[in-house]
Amino acid sequence: MDAFRKLTAVAAPYDLDNVDTDQIIPARFLKYPRSGGYGQFLFHDQRRNEDGSQRADFVLNRPDYKAARILVTGENFGCGSSREGAVYALADSNFRAVIAPSFGQIFHNNCFKNGILPVVLPHDRIKAIAARLKQNPGSFLTVDLERNVVIVDGPNGDQEIPFTVDAFWREALLAGVDEIGLTLTYSEKIAAFERDYHKQFDWLQ
């Protein structure tokens, strides 16, 4: 995975709850190979009219958010289907962090595998950040994984909001660890486990 340390970038507010992965990428695009890029599919049906033209009212279509790399959103973001294509679509659109009060769990796991940091912040904090981003479209946020803070610049100077990420995944993301490679270093332990396991549960063979 790509390493993630600290990111300062334009943040886009899309503070709806229960944004499912069918909305992030409609199923009909999942058949395409990754090599063609998935960025074009991100929020496709929200983003485009039937003739393919962009809808001016959709947040990511506004010029202020062209450079957005952080998404600020609502409860249970990425719920629904396990499609990793949802994360590919965000990654291929240059998003590297998603901030939400809670995440669909499979989506949450998929983020880490693709170098995207899912940040959980309390609901009220997100509402405040989203309101601020809407007042100042195109403004920046900083997500600092080394210090576990989101930095919002406000009228009274910078405000730091702490967040927690599981230590294991944090380390993996900071170092850009290759997870399969890491697990293969446990090969002996896995093999020993398997021997014992299949002896006990011989009926699984």
Binding site: Q23, K113, T183, F193, Y197
Partner: protein
């Protein structure tokens, strides 16, 4: 004292990171025609599949349901070809296109006895929670995670919290486990079980057949749960005995002895408890764009003006706009354009029997598409003459696959059309761009087909008793 989940989890931990995830041993992994990125990742790294014998494959999402000669876009049928190529020489147990055993992963797993109590199973599909109906701990994973499983037969996972949902009492006639799970999602919300594994318990659940349990666990993900689970019992052992991949003879006896040790111990602790009275549950129907937007069929479309919470009000307004519904209108007067009976939620033989009971000697008023969950379900239905009942009623009887649940194979609901569907998701565009989905039970879907509108199945002459 331990819960069912605790026991399964403990038995699969290879390595525990202090304050972090555990490395878990995966018993069985099922792959399908959408799992191609995982195979691509393995190839790119030249990694072999570690335990192909513990891996099973069948195409479902992209298969044509109008038979082999169906017109399908080449880029769609290509997906099933690609699946076949990925399976070739892999050593994976495959139920390929055209095989009688082919079908939806979550129908095939239980049907073949691949799914067993106490196993830890994965599949790159969120409805893998289905397999919890047999007492397996099973959940959906992404493609990177699947590449990891294929290469190592393990998965890093955080330990989820435990929730128990107890349903007691007698269900009314015409009310099914689909209605129970929809009622649960309505109660706790689409994010209500995020971070939890849910164990379903109580007399109502104990009384469910295996297929009803699979339906219930299937939609656990629709409440955000990591997985759904039901303690194995004689109903499960009876169902599994003699299935192709289930243990046999002396091994079967040893397996059952182990399985009997799995149910949650007396006094085991859950992090959250919810309970429902089955007798209060009516046939349910969704009105909005998330499964938590659900009401009894006797209800009326919600009025955003009456909602206090601003976020919820906005959601109701957006959902009604998308769905083309008026606040205050009676749900049971909503006209339907198309009916879909099938999917991993309700594409099994018992579901088809219920639909047939209601469709017998009647005519459908709207196009009705009936898609069996597997080739074996199809064969069984035909042996029982259900296909003849469906055809006589004017419904279409198709080949097995995911079909109109997700529309990836080209079976879509047209823009602006309204479906009554036995599937599991009413998301915006789920059944095709602009499609409007009402999730219902098989009995309610058949009733909607007969009436041409959403209707209370209990009011049909042959509608009661459809469990």
């Amino acid at each position: 004292p331990e819960t069912l989940f605790d026991k399964i989890w403990r038995r699969h931990v290879i390595h525990q990171q202090p304050d972090g995830p555990a490395l878990l041993y995966v018993d069985r992994n099922i792959v399908h025609d959408g799992t191609f990125h995982a195979f691509e990742m393995l190839r790119a790294r030249q990694l072999p599949i570690l335990r192909p014998g513990q891996t099973f494959g069948t195409p479902d999402h992209y298969v044509a349901t109008r038979g082999a000669n169906a017109q399908q876009a080449p880029e769609v049928s290509r997906m099933v070809d690609m699946f076949a190529r990925n399976m070739e020489g892999s050593g994976i147990h495959v139920f390929p296109r055209g095989d009688k055993r082919q079908g939806i992963v979550h129908v095939v797993g239980p049907e073949q006895g691949i799914t067993l109590p106490g196993l830890f199973m994965v599949c790159s599909d969120s409805h893998t929670s289905t397999h919890g109906g047999l007492g397996a701990f099973a959940f959906g994973i992404g493609q990177s995670e699947n590449a990891h499983v294929l290469a190592t037969q393990t998965l890093w996972q955080e330990r989820p919290k435990r929730m128990r949902i107890t349903v007691d009492g007698q269900l009314g006639l015409g009310v099914s486990s689909k209605d129970v799970i929809l009622a649960i999602i309505g109660r706790i919300g689409a994010g209500g079980a995020v971070g939890y594994v849910v164990e379903y318990a109580g007399s109502t659940v104990r009384g469910f057949s295996v297929e009803q349990r699979l339906t219930m666990c299937n939609m656990s993900i629709e409440a955000g749960a990591k997985a759904g689970l039901i303690a194995p019992d004689d109903t499960v052992y009876h169902y599994l005995h003699g299935r192709p991949f289930a243990p046999k003879d002396a091994k079967w006896e040893r397996a059952v002895a182990y399985w009997r040790s799995l149910p949650s111990d007396e006094g085991a602790m859950f992090d959250r408890e919810v309970s429902l009275d089955a007798s209060t549950i009516a046939p349910m129907v969704t009105w909005g764009t998330t499964p938590e937007d659900v009401l009894p069929i006797t209800g009326t479309i919600p009025d955003p003006a009456k909602e206090q919470d601003a976020g919820k009000r906005e959601h109701i307004m957006a959902a009604l706009d998308y769905m083309g519904l008026q606040p205050g209108a009676r749900l049971s007067e909503t006209p339907i354009d198309i009916v879909f009976i099938g999917s991993c939620t309700n594409g099994r033989i018992e579901d088809l029997r219920i639909a047939a009971k209601i469709l017998k000697s009647t005519k459908v008023k709207v196009p009705t598409v009936i898609v069996p969950g597997s080739g074996l379900v199809k064969a069984q239905a035909e042996a029982e003459g259900l296909d003849a009942i469906f055809r006589a009623a004017g419904a279409e009887w198709r080949e097995p696959g995911c079909s109109m649940c997700v529309g990836m194979n080209g079976d879509t609901v047209a823009k602006g059309q309204r479906s009554a569907s036995t599937s599991n998701r009413n998301f915006i565009g789920r059944q095709g761009a602009g499609s409007r989905t009402h999730l219902v039970s098989p009995a309610m879907a058949a009733a909607a087909a007969v009436a041409g509108k959403l209707t209370d199945v209990r009011k049909l002459p042959n509608g009661g008793g459809g469990q």
